[in-house]
């Protein structure tokens, strides 16, 4: 290989030690940790309010949450996490092969958010609103913040997917996006168990 001036170029390997954790992944991990504490606080507040409720839970006059239907949605979200994990493995071997599983994971993630939107319209029609009771307030706050994280993660995954399609997706960037999605997926079973049951 030669430079424009005709001087042969030498490939010099970087003598500096490589970090154990790429900066993008470290940054995302710190963000995920702070978000984990946010959800821990919300779930703790919900648990205390629920335990202190003298009239039972859900309070009289408030609808029961559709736990069975949401179980299907939970499976879809867990499946998207598993498929994205497969996409990560495929990306490590050959970048382009991650494209299809990544798209499938995105579709499952979109299904989760859309299903939840439909569920909210049903609950609103049954009288469960943000101001109808503590039950409604906690439900929309916790599930809503989780849904917001889902939408943000889907946006990040879509951005990563487009970069993958053009062949400019760095492994560390993809890893950071995956860490965020794993957090969203991993958190959901805990929320589902505490809020829906």
């Amino acid at each position: 290989m030669q430079s424009r001036t005709g001087v042969p170029l030498r490939v010099i390997s970087d003598p500096r030690p490589q970090p154990a954790l790429p900066s993008a992944v470290l940054g995302m991990s710190i963000f995920v940790f702070s978000e984990a504490m946010l959800f821990a606080g919300l779930i703790s507040a919900f648990s205390i309010a629920r335990a202190g409720s003298l009239l039972g839970w859900p309070p009289p006059g408030q609808p029961r949450l559709p736990a069975e239907e949401t179980a299907i949605n939970t499976l879809a979200l867990l499946a998207s996490g598993a498929v994205l994990w497969l996409a990560g493995r495929a990306h490590a071997k050959e970048q382009r092969s991650a494209s299809r599983p990544m798209l499938f994971a995105l579709c499952l993630a979109a299904f989760f958010v859309l299903f939840q939107g439909w569920e909210w319209t049903q609950l609103l029609a049954q009288g469960l609103t943000l101001t109808s009771s503590q039950h409604g307030a906690f439900f929309y706050l916790i599930i809503g913040i989780h849904a917001l994280h889902c939408v943000a993660a889907i946006a990040a995954l879509t951005w990563a997917y487009r970069r993958l399609a053009t062949g400019v997706l760095a492994a560390s960037t993809f890893q950071a996006v995956r860490v965020f999605w794993y957090f969203v997926v991993g958190l959901w079973p805990l929320i589902y168990w505490r809020v829906y049951w």
């Binding site: 490589q18 154990a20 954790l21 940790f33 504490m37 606080g41 648990s47 335990a51 202190g52």
Partner: protein, 73 residues
């Protein structure tokens, strides 16, 4: 010496009604469910940062050790 004894006696005297101080206006509840919820959520909120830091440190050390091992071969 007498000052120390006086301080100790004052401390002992102050400790007698300390049981009442456990009834914190914020987190005390007459219901067992509430008290258990407070206890469990306190453990939960305390454990998360400790576990997260532990896992993070373990992971970085493991990765760094694997890197050193790869260099020596």
């Amino acid at each position: 010496m007498s000052a120390r004894l006086t301080a100790l006696a004052a401390f002992a005297a102050a400790s007698v009604p300390a049981q009442q101080a456990l009834a914190c206006a914020v987190c005390f509840s007459g219901r067992d469910e509430s008290r258990i919820a407070y206890l469990l959520t306190t453990i939960f909120m305390t454990a998360i940062p400790v576990i997260a830091l532990g896992v993070g440190i373990y992971w970085v050390v493991k990765k760094a050790t694997a890197g050193d091992g790869a260099k020596t071969h």
